[in-house]
């Protein structure tokens, strides 16, 4: 009989670093991630099970409601779709096991990886490849959206006024990192 084998996670951005006096580009810490699709009847049970209120407004995210889940975030991606991110090593699949309502949860912890872009020029660097209006007025702290960065699809989250989290698929991450590192050389940045 075949042995059950678990693939070990890869961190393709390990050790990479780029930056200038105005911006730092670094790989984010490993995280547990959940791709959630849920019917309205599952929103409240899932919010309780994950201890983070699933936001229902477009372009918004929410942080954990319990002390233990403070660092956990739920990002609105679509009218019935969320990305949940947790850097504390929590087992998100176990957390939503048995929650009521109709939903699907897929563990995408290692499908995605993330890049943190921070500093006064963070917005300008991301704007080099993102078509959305990223001014604070249009894209406030806590705002998030699935969008594009250069030729790749990303999920963008503004964690602080000058800190962005760029979630991208692992296989595109080297491109995304190189794109951002190249963008900071632009004289406009």
């Amino acid at each position: 009989m075949a042995d059950i084998q678990a693939a070990s996670p890869q961190y393709p951005l390990d050790g990479m670093v780029a930056g200038s006096a105005l911006v730092q580009i670094t790989p984010a810490a490993p995280a547990s991630r959940l791709a959630l699709r849920a019917r309205p009847d599952a929103i409240a049970p899932l919010s309780k099970a994950l201890a983070v209120k699933l936001p229902q407004e477009p372009k918004t995210s929410a942080q954990g409601t319990a002390a233990k889940t403070k660092g956990r975030r739920a990002l609105w991606l679509g009218p019935d779709e969320w990305l949940v991110i947790d850097e504390s090593g929590a087992d998100l699949m176990a957390a939503c096991q048995g929650a009521g309502g109709t939903f699907s949860a897929v563990d995408v912890s290692n499908r995605n990886t993330a890049i943190i872009v921070s500093g006064p020029a963070a917005e300008a660097v991301i704007s080099a490849g993102c078509p959305q209006d990223l001014s604070l007025k249009a894209f406030a702290v806590g705002a998030c959206a699935r969008t594009l960065l250069g030729k790749t699809e990303v999920v963008l989250l503004r964690e602080e006024a000058d800190v962005f989290r760029v979630e991208c698929w692992r296989s595109f991450s080297a491109y995304a990192f190189a794109f951002l590192a190249e963008a900071l050389r632009d004289p406009m940045v």
Binding site: K59, G78, P79, P131, Q132, A145, R146, T147
Partner: protein, 104 residues
Amino acid sequence: MLLIYCPYCKEERPEIEFRHAGEAHIARPTDIKAISDEDFEGFFFIRSNPKGIAFERWRHVHGCGRFFNAVRDTVSDKIIMTYEAGKPRPSDEEIQARLKELAL
């Protein structure tokens, strides 16, 4: 770049996040094996392709991922209005009112 209003994201987003997905309001026959070859051809291949007001499906593929419908003028390439998938085709009066609003 065009800005397209996504009825699910409830705001205008850059065109590059969207993809055109053919003519809207084409209902798949409920008993497709019962229809004639000519009717199937009509359903499957024949599109109205009007000059002027067209009803189209679009998808916010690099955004919320949802399909929705748009009323677009194929002459000016202006999108007059967008609405959620499953909603009925807007009436001529609604389109005219919207055109007036946009001063097109």
